[in-house]
């Protein structure tokens, strides 16, 4: 039997755009801690190569829910399709604009990126939008820097370390590892959105939704109970994170996750811990900030009158 009585399916397929990425940790943690099971849900994960692949999997019906970036709900609204984010797991997007230790020129501020090579995970991804936004708010043209897609992991590290790019927008744990390898003061950070201060400085809002669980608006409508249960499990995981140390969290994660360099993993987690949401809510001003950022890079979004209220709902996390 597939239905949980009223309002929803009991089995849920979640597509994740890189399950081992730290931004999606709460979902894995909730699963490891058995919170989904507690809710009577049978959750399976499919790991996809990135956020947009996960979204496509959702559109194609391969998964029910995506653990991905909030931006996609806005992008899809511009395409006339409604997605609804129903629980957030990050309040700060945790993107770091860092300068390569081997940069070809002195880069002290975003303005210095003029004519530089800057790495992002992929053209057309959140990191790319972030970069464009920074460029424009610092008075530069959108194409002032040449953008390189360098991925989010080993490849990004290789590119930054070897000076293939002068600067890059990095995610955890790549940034922590870079810092560790470059040594004390080896990496100059231009912008750091892992903290509230950083987010406020860049986006002028207190929270900026990024990693969320979203699905098609129809699915959320038809599976309200399931959505509520999932949101509840995630919020429990978020609370657990708040109450435990990075080391304790790492210990709960699957064994493979600390197979590489456990210390780095813990250090990265420690640095990113503060970025996790505490209540699972998406704030309206944050959502509007996202729409603003996207509008800069995507004409389609700029041209559409985006109604952010349709892109998320906090009703499942408000207990």
């Amino acid at each position: 039997d597939d239905s949980a009585g009223d309002g929803g399916s009991r089995t849920v397929k979640i597509g994740v755009g890189g399950k081992s990425l730290m931004v999606y940790l709460p979902t894995t943690l909730a699963d490891e801690l058995g919170y989904f099971t507690d809710e009577g849900l049978d959750v399976t994960f499919d790991d996809l190569e990135g956020g947009s692949k996960a979204l496509q999997a959702l559109q194609g019906g391969s998964v029910d829910v995506v653990n991905g970036f909030y931006e996609h709900t806005i992008q899809m609204q511009a395409k006339g399709r409604d997605l609804t984010a129903f629980v957030a797991m990050l309040r700060y997007p945790s993107m770091v604009l860092a300068v390569s230790p081997k940069a070809s020129k002195e880069i002290k501020a975003v303005e210095d990126l003029q004519g530089a090579k800057v790495g992002v995970t992929a053209p057309g991804s959140s990191t790319d939008f972030f970069l464009k936004y920074l460029l424009s708010t610092n008075g530069l043209e959108l194409d002032a820097a040449s953008v390189h897609g360098i991925g989010g992991d080993t490849k990004a590290l290789a590119a930054v370390e070897s000076g293939q790019v002068d600067a890059a927008v990095l995610l955890e744990p790549a940034f922590s590892l870079l810092q560790k390898r470059a040594g004390e003061g080896g990496v100059r950070v231009l912008e750091d959105t892992r903290t509230e201060a950083g987010v406020r400085e860049v986006f002028d809002v207190s929270t900026y939704p990024s990693a969320v669980l979203y699905s098609n608006a129809d699915w959320v409508d038809e599976n309200r109970e399931t959505a509520r249960k999932m949101a509840k499990a995630i919020v429990r995981a978020l609370n657990w994170i708040e109450q435990h140390s990075a080391q304790e969290i790492a210990d709960k994660m699957p064994e493979e996750y600390s197979a590489g360099e456990p210390e780095v993993y813990v250090a990265a987690l420690d640095a990113a811990k503060d970025a996790y949401s505490q209540d699972g809510r998406v704030s309206t001003d944050g959502a509007e900030a996202v729409a603003r950022v996207l509008g800069l890079s995507i004409p389609e979004v700029a041209e559409t009158d985006i109604d952010v209220s349709k892109t998320f709902t906090n009703e499942f996390v408000e207990e």
């Binding site: 992008q75 899809m76 790495g119 992929a122 053209p123 057309g124 590290l157 070897s162 790019v165």
Partner: protein, 284 residues
Amino acid sequence: MSAPPGTRPTDEDGKAGSVTAAARRKSAARRRRVVVRSMQVAIAVAGIGSWEILVNADVLDEFFFPRPTDVAERIGDWLADGEIFDHLLVTLTEAVLALLIGSALGLVTGFLLARWRLLAEILDPYIKMLNSLPRVVLAPIFLLWFGLGIWSKVVFGVTLVFFIVFFNTYQGVREVSPVLVDNARILGARERQMLRHVFLPSALTWIFSSLHVSVGFAIVGAVVGEYLGASEGMGYLISEAEGLLDTTGVFAGMVVLAAVVLVIDLIVHRVERFLLRWKPVAPT
């Protein structure tokens, strides 16, 4: 099939008859070409047309399968804009370099191992293991060694082309008729001369067969290389469009690539026809 009665009288005389035969062959070839071209167009029209209809009828989801007219329009925009040519040039350069370097390496290695059998036996497992490595996973190392410029993409393509050409060259050289080999050796051919006069010409059909596959793989290598990390090129364009959930852009990029492949393959085909001009026409 008897000749049409009208041409009969001239056949009485040997020379005139032969001219007629040559002319007849030529016009048959021309007729065939017309049939082929029109069938190709028909297929294209039917394929694209039904696609368009299916999208309009909402049988195909426009999100995944953009309307052909939109794709065409996008390509039109790109061409008008002109920026596409820079991207195309980059990708083309990478693909052509990958094709040239990859097949040169494949050829040399293929010949070397085919002629030096002990070495071939020793290296056999290593070559097969290397061929099974997922290139995508090796991207960080390519990047580290070859940078973010065109060379990491070229290497990407080379790792695909090399194996395809290598295996065929290797087998092609080993398939050379032993009598030809013996005859050439008896006539005094040294190893280098054997390569040039016996092994290479004899393996040419094998080599060209692998080149036809390789053209596609060289392009794929370049695009996927760009897809994994670049700031220009068709792969970059496609990856950007994908990030923006702009499937029209993705398809437009692929259509441009496909068109380019035909051009490269045409060149390969011309070279092939020239080098294999000694061949009798294949039996039907």
